[in-house]
Symmetry: C2
Subunit: 308 residues, 2 copies
């Protein structure tokens, strides 16, 4: 970083559908403070978002008042503060940074990271919003070989599988795994009653999904195996989780072919399940903390936008 690009510290915000995280990041990229709130964009009207953000900044303290703010996530969607149009793949961090959306505001100097749009390898249009910033954060810490070619998986409500080539996001694909698990667990006959974490049932689900390509025909085995006494009622959710994560990982690996490693980005509990699934396919998992990738990505994008 040359002297002319000397940065002040900044405020970085990861604002998703159901969560809000405000971070104070120092001039060298170091995390100086974090403030979490449960006000995701789905719980506010667009008009309420700027006042809410201002209030959180005030809560964080007088020393962060007036700092520039960069935001990512659903805050830039049609239900967010201001819609930031998608940027098409392939895209690298520099082009993403040149497409930050400045938000007109009297009191804040704010910009929003746009989401990405692609035509996936399955021939379907696909979109992401928020994960692109984690990918930028990952790229900032990646080796030259990893930047040249890598596959990332960002598990969650909507898992993203991202193909990196030559330092760019080449394309990506979304698997509905987390949402499907949630609706089946809450609303189907598959996992009724009190549920407990059951590693053996989870492993059995992984093995079953690996043995058959048809998830639809396997889902019912969550119930029929319980009826047959192969796992207790309380292990149905764990078995279902193994089935779904196994099906997601298996299909993604089949699509990617001859893959040796996958970089996982996310929260620890969920990553452990994906690590187990990848181990089942003898593919190496390299795990990265999702919040750290977000913070680093926001800082990188802000810095790149100032350099441009």
């Amino acid at each position: 970083m040359s002297a002319t690009l000397a940065m002040s510290s900044i405020l970085a915000v990861d604002w998703g559908t159901s969560s809000f995280r405000l971070m104070h990041i120092g001039p060298g990229g170091e995390l100086l403070g974090i403030l979490n709130a449960d006000k995701g964009v789905s719980r506010l009207t667009p008009a309420e978002m700027e006042p809410f953000l201002q209030q959180q900044i005030t809560t964080m303290g007088p020393d962060v008042s007036g700092l520039p703010v960069i935001l990512c996530g659903m805050v830039g969607s049609a239900i967010g503060w201001r819609e930031a149009p998608y940027v098409d793949c392939p895209v690298d961090p520099a082009r993403l940074a040149s497409n930050l959306l400045r938000v007109p505001s009297e009191r804040l100097q704010a910009c929003i990271v746009p989401g990405l749009r692609t035509l996936s390898e399955l021939g379907q249009p696909d979109v992401m919003r928020g994960e692109e910033t984690q990918v930028v954060g990952w790229l900032a810490g990646a080796s030259a070989a990893q930047k040249a070619s890598a596959v990332l998986c960002l598990p969650g409500t909507h898992s993203k599988w991202v193909r990196i080539e030559n330092g760019e996001v080449r394309n990506f694909n979304t698997a509905l795994t987390g949402e499907l698990y949630a609706v089946l667990q809450q609303h189907s006959i598959l996992a009724r009653g009190e549920q407990q974490e059951d590693p053996a049932a989870f492993a059995a689900g992984l093995a079953a999904s690996a043995a058959s390509p048809s998830l639809l025909h396997l889902l019912f085995s969550t119930r029929s195996r319980m009826l047959a006494g192969l796992h207790p009622v309380s292990a149905c959710a764990s078995y279902l989780s193994g089935l779904l994560i196994g099906a997601e990982v298996g299909a993604a690996l089949a699509q990617a072919q001859t893959l040796e490693e996958v970089h996982l980005i996310g929260g620890k509990g969920l990553l452990q399940r994906y690590e187990a699934a990848l181990a089942h396919y003898q593919v190496r998992a390299i795990s990265h903390e999702g919040d750290a990738c977000s913070a680093r990505g926001l800082w990188q994008l802000y810095r790149a936008s100032q350099a441009a």
Copy 2:
């Protein structure tokens, strides 16, 4: 039928989780009367079931009072009137008939058709209750070649794919298609807002599922295609239906290999969707009305139990 086996007419009951149908069947198998009610077994306690049945028989009229009653469906499950233990596959109608469960009752001469249990071709335990009776009804009308070898599909909340060999149910497999569609339509982000039947979107869903083996990675395209303007918001449910039915049918055909025809058993509206899916794979669909198969199956099983 020899003179010694001359039958009176009987009462036949198809009593599922959410529906009740009482049929009066004549000595030649002809349907003499039908009474439908919305009291599925999930809406009654086991102790309420016999009085409810008695009341429906009384409502049907004095001429059916005292006739023998044969029942199938969830009425024979753990949440039904009396649990009829599963019979293991392979099984033919004669063995199923010899396993009817006589229900002790002061006022009724009643028996319940047991469900079937199998180890599916996917290596998973599987069960059915109610569909076995429709299969028996189908077998009664099948040609010798069809009895020798056929694949049946009974679409529904839990679709059953049944392999017939030598007049027996060899094995079967359950796909969660109907329930998955319902929970995704009601509780996910995929099909929000008012929905309308959209044949083009349904066909696009069929085509997408045929082009990729990974349903999990395709489900999100229900939303992303809408965001990309490829179908209207109101067509998301139709596209999703095409994706799910296409995935079910495609996986079942891949499992069965070199299949020329599939016998569909069910209600007309749903069968039309499965006919379209089979046509997409250039497999002939032969459709059979589900209620008629139930009535004929119940009559056949009762008759066989008297002959034994």
